[in-house]
Subunit: 313 residues, 2 copies
Amino acid sequence: MATRITVYEVGPRDGLQNEARQVPTPGKLELLAALAGAGLSRIEATSFVSPRWIPQLADAGEVVAALPGGAGLAYAVLVPNDKGLARLLDALARRGAGGPRVDAAVFLSASESHNRKNVNKGVAETLAAFEAVVGPARERGLRVRGYVSTAFGCPYEGKVDPARVVAVAGALLALGCEQVSLGDTIGVGTPNQVRRLLELLLGKARPEQIALHMHDTRGTALANVLAGLEGGITTFDSSIGGLGGCPYAPGASGNLATEDLVYMLHGMGYETGVDWGRLVAAGERAEALVGRTLPSKALRAELASRALGAPTC
Amino acid sequence: MATRITVYEVGPRDGLQNEARQVPTPGKLELLAALAGAGLSRIEATSFVSPRWIPQLADAGEVVAALPGGAGLAYAVLVPNDKGLARLLDALARRGAGGPRVDAAVFLSASESHNRKNVNKGVAETLAAFEAVVGPARERGLRVRGYVSTAFGCPYEGKVDPARVVAVAGALLALGCEQVSLGDTIGVGTPNQVRRLLELLLGKARPEQIALHMHDTRGTALANVLAGLEGGITTFDSSIGGLGGCPYAPGASGNLATEDLVYMLHGMGYETGVDWGRLVAAGERAEALVGRTLPSKALRAELASRALGAPTC
């Protein structure tokens, strides 16, 4: 098994976009600097979706222009279509040379209904439109990540056929995506589903081409990560503090918390490059920015232990 | 791998004893009936520790006298020493014949410091004192369960040597315990620790003699359960709603929630005998009894989904 695991931080985009409180641009940049300073080498920074859809990320251009640098550090920015890519390229051109690496990321759903609800197009149509994004992005020197949402279950269709996920992931790789991240958007997946999907997929893709993006809505995220580790996966997405969640379901949690993921990985002897103390500080920073207690259990436990002077219970 | 898993419910004892609000005896009996009615076949009901230590369970005698029946159902009651056993035997004698099966349970810690803090005796001395409990309980026809606390980490000593856990578990089995439950009391364990401990232990004990009692303090409980399933373990402890937790660390969660465990097991195709809808109703009952929202993620997600009409996110 691999000894080095990449923790792919998605809090500043996937997390923040579901937060009610508007975080000012300097706050976002502080959080990005805290995450990079904690040793996270892959950070999803923002999104060029329409500000009408997601007002929280309307400052994407300013964020891209000011991304904090770091050795071996790469950011990703979500672009839903060719217009989004044009905005990203424009922002990169305006910031000039010498900034940190920025990748593009595209997204669609494995299930037809969720994709239509999300981007108002069918899956095949969305994949076709990505030809005007992935290829041109690569020609401009950008690497592209692909996201497959509802890879384990769909709120409208229930269980999603793993063969369908394999087909969509394969199409994204064929378009030129460097890595495809499989998302358990509603947090319904369990370890046997992860195993089955990886069995099918790893006949057609190399392990490093696949990432798992598990949600912890029902507490199963780290068990699903364990199944992924056992299957040879070396990249896992997570969100600082568990930032994000489900805007329609108050009280329900969403994204796997980076602290919980890193706690387990370090406890198992994996190297992540992440500094635990700085990560916890970044989690505290995220809580201050959104003005609420975030769901990460490892963060809560660490802060409680510090207050007590021992992890007593 | 086994297809049938025993979910060992510990909420009414291990959960309630850490709850601040005093639950009246009829409320406890309602909860026990709800749990038994949901199909849980093993339920830790109460404890004959001194009411001065744990006022919440001062009504242990009344609870034992009125335990609701059910096919294939067995309860367990904690007895710290020979005095506790005498109180249990007395309560059983008073209720007369025909009630449901009641087992005894004894507990100690793998780490010396935690055991001294908890029961004011060393580990060897505690084990010696169990000779006046386990043998006599068996002579009176009771089965005995043993708990080993701090089996993965100790708040005072840090990591606990798995060889020590194996020795203590072996001593409990040699005394006549039918099953030994290994507790991650402070929720620090990760899957490789589970694997290592089981490798050492399953050379000396049969899988059905070992249970895992994982805490979810850092979000790793279900990943640890998965490692246990892979190691052949077929009994896992959990607490309805995640009832319990750490009285010294507000905000920190403790016991693995039964709903989260059952959600994962059912999703993986295991049979548990538990009815999901009735289990959720028992979780809601538990929340009403203690007057607070409990940490179970699967419970929260289920209730949010019902309110929305779909698991949308």
